[in-house]
């Protein structure tokens, strides 16, 4: 036995110093990844607990929140619950998001098809750099251009004050266009070359190949691109707030001032005191934003699973 103990003292049996640095490195990087995950959890915890306090602390009604059209959380109903009808903001947010996706999708897919199928050279040399630059432009700049170009244009040539869902939709569709185009381009370029060649060899024209083969194969990727754009549009705050007019009523036309969840949140947070019913109601709007962005992420993942590799 004594001899055995002595053998383990041999240098070969000692823990190498490399093992220590290895454990140190792995531990350090794991701590970093854990911190990132904890941050997400902390954000969810704070926003959910603040957002739910409207219902649990201030006694607001969930049904009223989703169906009521009067928003005045500083005032109370007869029964003592705050007046929290958020329907105007919900419709506003859904309207600008849906409409801008509707405008943006055909344009973005068309541009991506042009860049990949019709004229790759012009696409690479002219459109790609411009689109890359536009992806990086701050949303405030889009809002500012909307305020100084789109709003006066609508005011002078259409009707009303120019502020409203229409202005918001135009600004958002231009804002998400570069992002959706470049994601759609990725999806279309991922279609294998052999499929294109097979289709052309069977005698189809370029257009037949595009809509019968490319668009069908790239469908999950294109859908993901559009949903990604919608998520950006839904969560955009300042660009929309600048052009939508910020009236908390359900608009009767696209050209009347309206509001979105984000615009009312941006406007209101600075003017309310933390912990009051008024402030908690705003956190409930933030909670809806959080849940919607979660829903968009889940949708993208779910579609991504069906995507051919």
């Amino acid at each position: 036995m004594a001899k055995l103990v002595k053998e383990t003292e041999h240098p070969l049996f000692k823990k190498s110093s490399k093992l220590r640095t290895e454990r140190f490195g792995k531990g350090l990087t794991f701590a970093a990844v854990l911190l990132t995950a904890l941050l997400t959890a902390a954000i969810f915890f704070l926003v959910i607990s603040k957002g739910l306090s409207t219902f649990f602390v201030n006694g607001g009604s969930v049904k009223e929140f989703f169906t009521g059209s009067t928003w005045n959380p500083g005032q109370k109903h007869e029964g003592g619950s705050p007046i929290i009808g958020a329907l105007p903001f919900l419709t506003g947010s859904l309207a600008v998001t849906g409409l801008s996706a509707l405008i943006c999708t055909p344009l973005a897919i068309g541009a991506a098809l042009f860049m990949s199928e019709i004229s790759p050279k012009a696409g690479r040399k002219v459109m790609q750099p411009v689109i890359e630059l536009l992806v990086g432009i701050p949303s405030v700049v889009y809002g500012f251009i909307g305020l100084s170009v789109v709003v006066p244009l609508l005011r002078d040539h259409v009707t009303g004050s120019g502020f409203g869902i229409a202005a918001g939709t135009i600004v958002l569709s231009v804002m998400i266009l570069p992002t959706v185009t470049s994601l759609a381009l990725d999806a279309i370029q991922a279609v294998p070359r052999s499929l294109r060649e097979a289709s052309l060899a069977l005698g189809s024209t370029r257009w037949q190949m595009i809509y019968k083969v490319i668009l069908k194969t790239a469908k999950p990727g294109l859908l993901m691109a559009v949903i990604f754009g919608m998520a950006r549009a839904f969560g955009e705050a300042l660009a929309v707030q600048m052009v939508i007019g910020n009236a908390s009523v359900i608009p009767h036309s696209l050209f009347e001032p309206a509001s979105t969840l984000t615009s009312i949140l941006t406007m209101g947070m600075g003017y309310t005191v933390l912990g009051t019913a008024e402030n908690n109601a705003l956190w409930t709007l933030a909670l809806i934003l959080l849940l919607m962005s979660l829903a968009f992420t889940i949708a993208v993942r779910w579609i991504g699973r069906g995507k051919p590799q």
Partner: protein
């Protein structure tokens, strides 16, 4: 009924039209900002402080704040992102823990920036008691920037060929030594390009900042570089309005007569900076690659 050939021609024309419309739209957008903004850009405009009641103000402090916040944000988020990216690319096993971490990073990156800003407001401004300050703003921007950077780091590390790692192991390097001595240097060009592009996004962000870094800038003394002095531009506990926030603020509540001209100038300056970021992302990445690959 159209023949297939006619349909093809029609569709091609349609796609040309769509591409033309988009190009015109985007070019018009950039042209508008530059044509209206460039005449505003002067040394006086980019160095002097804004005026509240009269015209002729500049965006000097705002420009400084934007860069200062960007630097602090990278200082906070880069080490964490490097660690997290290395772990996910090199160490993570495919189990439930890794999967849930990946999902949480993805969810974090898809959160609207206003929600991140509100989290920063509640946590850094109120709970930590730092008030509207550069430090609160930089930490909120770090939260916003972190998932993006993690993805950049992970992707550039994954693009290093496996043979490079095997060469390291064969020489007797441990895994960690291989990562720090071989994989990271090889991934550096991609890393730098990705970091600069992410920096461009941080530079123009406003929604995450209005309730963390605040919407005002105190009078600054640009000769006082002591970070503890209240008038020093470096003081991390002073409120700081960035250029993007400034554009938003003066369009909502600005009472200076030349608010829209100043926004024109500031917007042009912002886009110019983004253009610079994009160009340098390409150039610096390529330069580093050339230096390191000796070709």
């Amino acid at each position: 009924m159209m023949s297939a050939k006619q349909a093809d021609r029609l569709a091609t024309a349609g796609l040309y039209a769509v591409a033309g419309v988009i190009l015109a739209l985007l070019a018009g957008l950039l042209g508008y900002v530059f044509v209206k903004g460039f005449p505003m850009l002067s040394w006086q405009f980019i160095t002097s402080p804004p005026q509240i009641f009269k015209g002729g103000g500049g965006v000097g402090p705002q420009l400084f704040n934007s860069f200062y916040l960007l630097v602090l944000t990278l200082v906070f988020s880069l080490p964490v992102a490097l660690g997290a990216g290395i772990y996910l690319a090199e160490y993570a096993k495919d189990n439930w823990l890794t999967r849930s971490i990946r999902i949480s990073v993805e969810v974090l990156s898809s959160l609207p920036s206003i929600v991140v800003g509100l989290f920063g407001f509640l946590f850094f401004v109120i709970y930590m008691g730092w008030g509207f300050s550069i430090i609160s703003g930089a930490l909120a921007l770090s939260v916003f920037n972190l998932p993006l950077l993690v993805r950049v780091v992970e992707q550039s590390i994954q693009s290093v060929p496996r043979t490079q790692r095997e060469a390291g192991w064969a020489l007797g390097f441990s895994k960690w030594e291989t990562i720090t001595n071989i994989v990271l240097p090889a991934a550096l060009p991609g890393l730098i390009t990705g970091i600069i592009l992410a920096a461009g996004r941080v530079f123009g962000e406003a929604a995450a900042l209005i309730y963390t870094a605040g919407m005002s800038t105190p009078a600054l003394d640009f000769t006082d570089w002591n970070p503890l002095s209240p008038v020093s531009p470096l003081n991390p506990f002073r409120p700081a309005e960035t250029m993007a926030v400034h554009i938003w603020k003066i369009n909502g509540e600005g009472i200076m007569p030349d608010a829209s001209a100043i926004s024109d100038g500031a917007a042009a300056l912002l886009i110019l900076s983004i253009l610079l970021f994009n160009l340098s992302a390409r150039f610096v990445g390529r330069f580093v690659f050339k230096k390191m690959s000796a070709s």
